[in-house]
Symmetry: D3
Subunit: 69 residues, 6 copies
């Protein structure tokens, strides 16, 4: 499988929160960094995600914002 995105990191699901139609998945990526993904509950349930799962974290480069301190 080949994914057309510049940013692909392996992460581990550490926590899942469910709202009314959206959910938030918290992830740990290498070097103890934290990430978060928001998706519909429908997608969350279809994927059957649970804490401890290993997932690929994908972000298109156009959605990455740089800030220079």
């Amino acid at each position: 499988m080949k994914v057309g995105a510049r940013n692909r990191i392996i992460g581990k699901v550490t926590k899942i929160q469910e709202g009314g139609v959206m959910g938030l998945v918290k992830l740990e990526i290498p070097a103890k960094s934290q990430m978060g993904s928001v998706l519909t509950l429908e997608s969350l349930h279809e994927m059957g995600l649970k804490e401890g799962d290993e997932v690929e974290v994908v972000v298109k480069a156009v959605n990455v914002l740089l800030i220079k301190p």
Copy 2:
């Protein structure tokens, strides 16, 4: 300064490519992972980014896609 985004990683600029109106900034984040950001040349030049610069890499959680192998 406080940024309203779940994903904020410190990265180092490793390479910059310029196109007609857009540019691609390649970054190294901890644990030797690579990331990429696409922005307008205008923003790129205004920021004065160059290789070796340290930047904050910011992604809103809604723009993070998860794939379960």
Copy 3:
């Protein structure tokens, strides 16, 4: 601080609504225009946003859609 985005407007928070995992921040920008931002409650709380706060409203140019009447 330099932000790699074409669209940066100063706005004032006029109202905050909280849902299950997401929140909506309503803003007033110059010339009495209204804007809105959706972010995770986590980000909202970490920022400690409240009505009357002045914030920078940032949008990458790739996320701006034009419609010609």
Copy 4:
């Protein structure tokens, strides 16, 4: 016509730059603020945009990032 987005501002095209496949449209919105939109040249040409045109500038609230100084 009703558009499902929280952010809709009337702007005037002030400048158009064309790259290889993408274009950048610069806009002036009320109170002399500047905005920018990146779109494909194909869309740009289909719309027949030119300097001086009045357009609706649309941004979904999920794509609006807030920064608190």
Copy 5:
């Protein structure tokens, strides 16, 4: 009306779910394919969307991810 986006498909609303601040609109597009759109409840209510409505489904090309099996 001209919309600056490469992806515009006519769809029919099949179901609407409301959460705390966001809503999910399920759509059927030609060839029995299903799509989904997440927007704020505010936008949803302002549009007065209901099941059976015909809408234009718009996606900027930068937000389309390709996966090759």
Copy 6:
């Protein structure tokens, strides 16, 4: 493989255009509809995409805008 996105359509690559750092991939989906995806040339080349290829077209629901005529 499970993808956390509401919108997944099978498409066939009909044309590829290359710019300086970005590329545009034109696709045909069922019912003769057309779609387009913009990605970095790097991703395009890594995927080895060519006309006639079958790909999965993925869009997160938050990036889908609805317009009611």
